[in-house]
């Protein structure tokens, strides 16, 4: 286990909580609170996985996801979406746009860790293959 995770989340407390959990699980976590500059941060940090909040000031998480999937270098990058709205439609839109996983706030820490681990594993497998 291990690797770089870029966490894009505007709510400070949530950012802190997720960073703490993932760090303790062995991930290198880079936090980013602004949607508008999120893509720059992706290019700069070149993470192995992204945890992306849907409701972001300046730019919606879904738009960022769409942009990521259009760029060849990030097209296959694992993305976990976080949303506070919890509506089915948001979930569908996110999965259609190419999100790999979807978590509804409030989520349990165990769910978050399991999701991230699963994604990391499948990425590793596809990498080997």
């Amino acid at each position: 286990m291990g690797g770089r995770i870029l966490l894009i989340e505007d709510e400070g407390n949530i950012l802190e909580a997720i960073s703490f959990i993932l760090s303790r699980a062995g991930w290198q976590v880079q936090g980013h609170g602004n949607g508008a500059t999120a893509l720059d941060a992706v290019a700069r940090t070149r993470p192995d996985m992204i945890v992306l909040d849907v409701m972001l000031p300046g730019c919606s998480g879904l738009e960022i996801l769409r942009a990521l999937r259009q760029r060849p270098e990030t097209a296959a990058l694992p993305v976990v979406m976080l949303t506070a709205k919890g509506q089915l439609k948001d979930r569908e839109t996110a999965l259609e746009l190419g999100a790999d996983a979807y978590l509804t706030k409030p989520f349990s820490n165990a769910d978050l860790l399991a999701t991230v681990a699963l994604l990391a594993q499948s990425r590793a497998e596809s990498g080997r293959a």
């Binding site: 505007d10 407390n13 409030p106």
Partner: protein, 893 residues
């Protein structure tokens, strides 16, 4: 020699024959197959009722007494038919166009449908006709008596024949004259019977004439010689009387009710008149050509002592020609009966329509004159009138006792009805003629005629000549009928004629000139005078198949193709016609009218059918009724229009409401989604950190404390959010209770600044104006403070100036107070200014700061409840909110 009983038997047979003909004709007409009935010859023959028993027998008598003077009676009508044909045609056209039922109806229609004028004419006609009917009864009775006891010209013992004749005639007229209230008042059965009688009359006279010329004398030459030698040719020549009588006879053919009946009312085709124009004068010529020979031979045979009025009958009897005599008897019988029948019919129509029914209506106040009940009353009135007229005639005959004076009544009656002439001619030719003129003229002429001729004649008939009539009433000799205006009248008839018609015409013209016609009169005047502009000629049944086609087309338009088709098919089958187009019989037309009336109203239906079938112009009454119906329909359509407009408005409103509801529903979804987000965000932190804390493995104390604080702060945030939501809900529902009290503005601001912790924080500098704040308000101080706290803490949170400042300024305006909160930050971007008062709306610059975005929404609701307002004031620099307070403030002392 025929026995009396044998004669009666022949009479009865003849009458039965007439009944049969009449029945057959009615039946044929109802089936629409009576072509011969509809021929111009039948029409012409029916006109021959002009030659009554008075002329049939009396012409010979007149020739014996006055030479050729009898010719004037034929000359007048002949001149009218030949010279004034245009007038007859106009009368017929008007009669059809206006659906005239009698001469009285004609006059009253022309003069504004005046009931009074109609009643006057009816009265005049009845008075004039009664002695005339008596004369016919007398002639029948006389001829009976002559037959039974030839040569005995004294008082006959067959008096009661008159009553049988009268009763029989009444029955006949009732049966064939009042079968139904026909639309066009035609009576085919009756007309065919009188046409037949006309043939019998003519045949009888011609037979006697031929017998006299070739049987008694030796041909025409011998006859002429005998005439030369006879005293008949010695009689003098009175030019004035000839002229007068010709004019009188001409007037009579136009004015006599019975002549009007056959000439106008029974006319079924205008073209028939053209045939009658030559055929009727020919008939008159034929019937009069042998008068002089018969008179001459009669005088030769019986001398001047015998009654010359019966020569037509006594000459063949005297020569032993019983068969011929019987024919003559039937001819005379025909002449008398046909006259009486038509006269009774015409008079009964007038009496019923213009006297009995109006009177009955006035008594009973019936609302609907077209109801079935009314029709029954009208029919009953006619039947009673026929019986009444007949027995009036009989009564007069009994009263006169068959006196010789009865013979004079023919011309007197002519002059009576001639009083209608000025009003009739004037009405047809002069639009200026008025009701007043007509009533004055007819009334005065009637009175003069009655006084100068009728009353003396009645008195003479009755055998009493009151002294008053000789000396004049009240000793006024100039008023005496014997010497009117002091004239020693050698000829009372001519004197009365000049006087009555003169005064009549003068008053008619004078009255018309000095009075103004009513609108209805004006309209009717135009319709009469210019009748050709307003109507189509009436053609008989020959043209009726075309009419049926037109009816079908019209009915299809109104009833629809299938319904109209069924109606016509059924009618055609009922009439036994295969073609599918029924004859427009009265029954069928009535039914069609009823069907149409269901769709377009009775008046319109009648007018439409009449237009096609009768070629009738639409009368004023019809027009008014149509206008009524149209008004009703328009009213109805206006109502419909209003209703549909209402519906459209309702639909628009519904659409509006629906759009609002949809928008509200969308807003509700967005609102719930926002609340979900605002609740889940703090919960996410709380859950995550609490799960971290629940794990036993090593978290240092500092982290533990920090995470606990975050959990605590987030629960506070959640609570505040819930409070705000509840607050907003209460405010929006208007269920908030205000605790209004007096409060100083400065105190409220102090409390707000303190509660916001602005002084304790010290970062934000607040500038105030104590003087301006010294105002006492009537408001809810807690709620107002809440608004102020929100505005101050917004400045605290969002003012991005390096040294944040908030300036609170107060302005006193007329009727209101204005408190402005302006900071020195960068302000709110223009595109977001419109959104800041929306729930959960937060300017981008406010992101990251705590708060759910409900503060301004709540504040605005509070200010609305307080009767003021909260608005954002765009300005060059900083954020500027303006609080408006209502005017119930006063400056502190």
């Amino acid at each position: 020699m025929l026995s009396f009983n044998g004669l009666v038997a022949v009479c009865v047979l003849y009458v039965v024959f007439l009944f049969g003909i009449a029945f057959l004709a009615e039946k044929r007409a109802a089936e629409g197959r009576a072509r011969w009935l509809n021929s111009p010859i039948t029409y012409t023959l029916s006109l021959s009722i002009y030659t009554t028993a008075w002329t049939f027998y009396g012409a010979v008598g007149s020739a014996v007494r006055n030479g050729l003077e009898f010719l004037t009676i034929y000359l007048g009508p002949t001149l009218i038919f030949i010279g004034w044909f245009w007038l007859l045609r106009k009368m017929v056209r008007i009669g059809r166009a206006q659906r005239i039922t009698s001469i009285a109806d004609m006059i009253s229609s022309r003069y504004g449908k005046s009931g009074g004028v109609a009643a006057l004419v009816t009265l005049l006609a009845v008075i004039g006709a009664t002695p005339y009917i008596a004369l016919q009864l007398q002639s029948v009775t006389l001829s009976f008596s002559v037959f039974v006891r030839p040569g005995a010209l004294g008082a006959p013992d067959t008096e009661q024949t008159a009553i049988w004749v009268a009763a029989g005639l009444a029955l006949f007229t009732i049966i064939f004259g009042t079968r139904s209230l026909d639309v066009n008042e035609r009576h085919p059965g009756l007309v065919s019977a009188i046409a037949l009688e006309a043939i019998v009359k003519l045949a009888a006279i011609l037979a006697v004439g031929i017998f006299v010329v070739w049987g008694v004398a030796d041909g025409p030459a011998n006859m002429l010689a005998r005439i030369e030698a006879s005293p008949v040719s010695q009689t003098g020549w009175n030019g004035a009387r000839w002229l007068g009588l010709t004019v009188l006879a001409g007037a009579a053919i136009l004015c006599l009710p019975r002549m009007f009946q056959v000439l106008v009312v029974e006319n079924s085709d205008e073209r028939h008149l053209a045939t009658a124009g030559w055929a009727f004068p020919l008939y008159l010529m034929l019937i009069s050509v042998f008068v002089v020979p018969i008179a001459v031979v009669g005088l030769e045979m019986f001398g001047s002592d015998a009654n010359p009025d019966l020569f037509v009958l006594t000459v063949p009897l005297g020569m032993g020609q019983d068969g011929l005599a019987l024919l003559v008897f039937l001819g005379g019988f025909s002449a008398a009966t046909s006259m009486v029948i038509v006269a009774a019919l015409a008079l009964s129509t007038m009496l019923a329509n213009h006297i009995i029914v109006p009177f009955w209506l006035r008594l009973t106040r019936h609302d609907d004159p077209m109801s079935g009940d009314m029709r029954r009353v009208a029919l009953m009135a006619r039947r009673l009138s026929i019986t009444g007229v007949m027995f009036l005639g009989y009564g007069y005959y009994r009263l006169s006792g068959g006196a010789d004076a009865l013979a004079d009544i023919g011309l007197i009656a002519f002059l009576g009805v001639a009083q209608i002439l000025p009003a009739l001619l004037g009405g047809i030719l002069w639009r200026g003629a008025t009701r007043v003129g007509a009533a004055l003229g007819i009334g005065a002429g009637f009175l003069i005629w009655a006084w100068l001729l009728l009353i003396p004649n009645v008195a003479e008939t009755g055998g009493v000549m009151p002294q008053m009539l000789i000396d004049g009433p009240f000793g006024l000799v100039w008023l005496s009928p014997v010497t009117p205006l002091g004239l020693q009248a050698t000829d009372p008839l001519l004197t009365a004629m000049v006087l009555s018609l003169g005064v009549n015409t003068f008053l008619f013209i004078f009255g018309s000139l000095v009075s103004f016609p009513s609108p209805l009169e004006r309209l009717q005047g135009a319709q009469f005078v210019n009748v050709y502009d307003h109507s189509q000629p009436l053609y008989g049944w020959q043209g009726a198949s075309g009419a049926a086609d037109d009816l079908l087309i019209m009915a299809q338009r109104i009833l629809g193709t299938s319904r109209a088709g069924r109606l016509f098919q059924t009618a055609a089958e009922a009439q036994g016609r295969i073609s599918g187009v029924p004859e427009p019989t009265p029954d069928f037309l009535e039914r069609l009218e009823r069907e149409l009336a269901g769709s377009v109203g009775a008046a319109t239906a009648h007018a439409m059918v009449a237009q096609i079938v009768g070629g009738a112009s639409v009368s004023v009454r019809d027009l008014l009724a149509v206008a009524d119906e149209t008004a009703q329909i328009m009213e109805y359509s206006t109502q419909l229009e209003a209703k549909s407009e209402e519906l459209a408005q309702t639909a628009a409103r519904l659409q509006e409401v629906n759009a609002k509801l949809t928008a509200l529903s969308l807003q509700k979804d967005a609102f719930l989604s926002q609340i979900s987000h605002e609740l889940r965000t703090p919960m996410t932190s709380i859950r995550s950190f609490s799960e971290i804390l629940m794990q036993p493995d090593g978290i240092d104390a500092a982290a533990r404390t920090r995470f606990s604080r975050i959990i605590h702060d987030e629960t506070v945030r959640l609570t505040r959010l819930l409070d705000d939501l509840l607050d907003l809900s209460v405010l929006e529902n208007g269920r908030v209770t205000l605790h209004e009290a007096e409060a100083r503005l400065s105190d409220v601001l102090d409390r707000a600044i303190h509660a916001a912790g602005a002084q304790a924080d010290g970062r934000l500098i607040i500038r105030r104006d104590p003087d301006a704040e010294a105002v006492t308000l009537w408001t809810d101080p807690d709620r107002l403070a809440q608004v102020f706290i929100n505005l101050i803490s917004n400045a605290q949170k969002y003012c991005d100036a390096p040294a944040p400042e908030l300036t609170i300024s107060v302005r006193q305006m007329p009727g209101r107070l204005q408190v402005e909160f302006a900071d020195n930050g960068s302000g709110i971007p223009k595109r977001q200014q419109a959104l800041i008062f929306e729930k959960f709306a937060r300017a981008d610059t406010a992101k990251g700061a705590p708060g759910a975005g409900l503060g301004l929404a709540i504040s605005r609701e509070i200010m609305a409840r307080l009767g003021g307002g909260l608005s954002y004031v765009p300005s060059e620099q900083g954020t500027r909110f303006r609080v408006r307070l209502p005017g119930r403030t006063r400056r502190a002392a």
